[in-house]
Symmetry: C2
């Protein structure tokens, strides 16, 4: 197995609303059949699909809550963290941690999307962000 | 917010065991302080960190179960799906769906890692996989 991740599928209670949320953040749908929504995201893909369908497809039990995965979006500047959090709140997301200094010398905050999926928005001065958005450790 | 995802953090009950699982699949740790483990994964990063720490960091309640996110790894051939599933089982993962034809003309199966995070392993003849592992819709 090569060291890469091709697709992250976010299970949603209402795919149409979830799509509107990400589009309100400025994302543009790359492909959809109105059942699943695919966003090309750099070298990989982020998808939205019915949460129950994702559970059935993976043959897992859905407890209904948070499941131990967090997503992160690395910004180019510390100021951008606050502006992305503000965008997310305006789009209907929930800020669970407002922007603040981190122990590693960065600046970050967290929003939840409409389905409770956690996104940390972080500026990390120790990580290299390419012009194309790629992150290199 | 640009259309990209920088980091996926998989919460783990035992980061050392989780690291050994991914290393048994052939992944190599890019950076660790023995608290968090980072794997460079193409244009982004996959991290392992204590599940309770991930929950606290994101200010979410951890219900202990599956939380509506599935990961996927796209293979170059259909045969590779079965070999990756076999690798995952040998490393201590759980196969929840054995390899089989999909409705979209591909071939896929699913394994869970030691913490129950679902990975679909799929060959999708309609998606373009670059030499560097990048996926383009």
């Amino acid at each position: 197995m090569e060291q890469r991740l091709s697709l992250v599928t976010l299970g949603s209670h209402d795919v149409k609303l979830a799509r509107e949320f990400y589009e309100a953040l400025g994302w543009r749908t790359t492909w959809t059949d109105d059942d699943v929504v695919f966003f090309q995201a750099g070298c990989m893909v982020v998808a939205l699909w019915g949460r129950q369908k994702v559970a059935e497809d993976a043959r897992v039990e859905d407890g209904g809550g948070w499941g131990g995965i967090a997503l992160a979006y690395i910004t180019r500047t510390a100021e951008e963290v606050d502006s992305v959090l503000a965008e997310a709140e305006a789009a209907g997301g929930t800020i669970t941690r407002t922007g603040g200094e981190t122990f590693y010398g960065g600046y970050s905050g967290v929003f939840l999307d409409l389905d409770g999926h956690a996104w940390e928005v972080a500026h990390n001065p120790n990580w290299t962000l390419g012009d194309d958005g790629s992150v290199t450790l």
